[in-house]
């Protein structure tokens, strides 16, 4: 179990903001911090990793105290076992993929860790290339592998996928889920994408102005009304077209497009780019075996 209590006054866009959170994370789970920019999500990760000191708080990770301001315990970042992946990769440009990974090894740590990670994250063909020769998705895979070299107790992913296109994003999500399970990691993800949160996380914390506004399983949190429709997905509206007396709404769910017929009152204020829940009764869909 990981207990995190943090308080810190942060400088926000409109004056100061008090970040005040209390989070419990089950070992081995993947949790998401969801919220607008400036809500304090990155500051939380920075305080967990020790890069930013809170005004008050405590962090215990599997019975070890990383931070306790009352007892004046403040473990240095290098003594906290965290892996950190940012949006902008942060790879050393003058080193090859493999050298980037080897550089992250601790003193005395076996090089086998790197070989195994290259295997797991399928970097074999890329290992001798320099970062500039890699695509965004490939660089992010290397960054993910590097974050895992020291077998962290907490893997932190700060919007790692937001610069990637949808196909690449879905692939990276699968890699993250794979290593999360394979290495039994406890993972904290920051994400803006509801569909990503639903796919990836066991639990989501909605952060607003430095406070936890809501928490629970993604479906509980994002379906505002509990609806009895069992065929439920969340997606983003990409197109709305009027046909006769109805509207045809195209929605991107994960990497699939679906079309939904809607009536004028149902459309209401829904516009392109809005996040929506698509729900139907479980009685309607047809099921056919694919040969």
């Amino acid at each position: 179990m990981i207990h995190i209590t943090l308080q810190k006054e942060l400088i926000a866009a409109h004056g100061t903001m008090l970040l005040d959170i209390n989070i419990d994370i089950q070992r081995g789970s993947l949790v998401t911090l969801y919220g607008d920019s400036g809500a304090g999500k990155t500051s939380i990760l920075r305080m967990i990793s020790g890069l930013l000191a809170p005004d008050k708080g405590s962090i215990t990770v599997n019975q070890k105290t990383w931070l306790d301001t009352e007892k004046r315990i403040h473990q240095k970042p290098q003594h906290r076992k965290v892996g950190y992946v940012f949006q902008d990769y942060g790879l050393f440009p003058n080193m090859t993929v493999k050298e980037n990974l080897l550089y992250a090894l601790e003193k005395g740590q076996s090089k086998n860790t790197v070989t195994e990670l290259i295997d797991t994250i399928e970097l074999g063909d890329l290992q001798d290339r320099k970062p500039e020769k890699l695509s965004g998705g490939q660089k992010q895979r290397v960054a993910l592998a590097r974050a895992l070299v020291r077998t962290p107790e907490i893997l932190m992913l700060d919007e790692p996928l937001s610069a990637l296109d949808n196909t690449m994003r879905a692939k990276l999500q699968d890699y993250i889920l794979k290593v999360h399970k394979q290495y039994n990691l406890t993972t904290i993800l920051i994400s803006h994408e509801i569909s990503e949160v639903i796919k990836m996380s066991d639990q989501v914390f909605v952060i607003e102005n430095g406070k936890i506004k809501k928490q629970g399983s993604p479906i509980e949190v994002f379906t505002t009304k509990q609806m009895s429709g069992k065929f439920q997905f969340s997606g983003e509206v990409v197109h709305i077209e009027k046909e006769d007396v109805i509207y045809i709404v195209t929605i991107l769910i994960g990497t699939n497009f679906v079309k939904i017929v809607a009536e004028e009152t149902e459309i209401g204020t829904i516009a392109i780019g809005d996040k929506v829940i698509v729900a139907s009764k479980a009685f309607n869909p047809l099921l056919q075996k694919v040969h």
Binding site: K225, Q226, M227, S228, G229, K230, E243, D244, V245, I246, V261, A262, E263, T265, E266, A279, K281, A282, F283, N284
Partner: protein, 132 residues
């Protein structure tokens, strides 16, 4: 989406499926859902819930005493007809509130529907969703 408000009067659960009876105004409606009183908090007798169904799932009949497998029936007066090439939208005034139906323009023509006429509005039990 048509949304009405109803009070749960009976819940008949078998396995993970429940047949829920609702009182909506003077009319009784039934819906079948894959939920039980243990899986959702709103599924309790006397609870007021939202009853939702799609406009395209509303069936229109012309006479009142149909021998038909659809249990949810309510008498309606046609308030408005908006005819499109393929589909038409009917606005219906009923004792449970306003209901919108989308049917084919062919069907509307065959039934010779006109504003002010009284019809029966029907919704299949498996097409009704409940929410808090």
């Amino acid at each position: 989406m048509n949304i009405l408000e109803g009070k749960i009067t009976d819940i008949n659960t078998h396995g993970s499926v429940s047949l829920v009876t609702l009182q909506i105004g003077p009319v009784s409606f039934n819906t079948i859902v894959i939920e039980t009183p243990d899986t959702v908090s709103y599924l309790k007798k006397e609870h007021i819930v939202k009853v939702a169904f799609k406009e395209t799932e509303v069936i229109i009949g012309k006479n009142h005493d149909h021998s038909i497998s659809i249990q949810n029936k309510v008498v309606a007066k046609i308030l408005d007809i908006e005819k499109g090439t393929l589909l038409s939208k009917l606005t219906l005034g009923t004792s449970v509130g306003k209901i919108i139906a989308i049917i084919t323009t062919n069907a509307a023509q065959q039934l010779q529907l006109h504003i002010g006429e009284e019809v029966t509005t029907m919704i299949k039990t498996t097409e009704i969703m409940l929410s808090q």
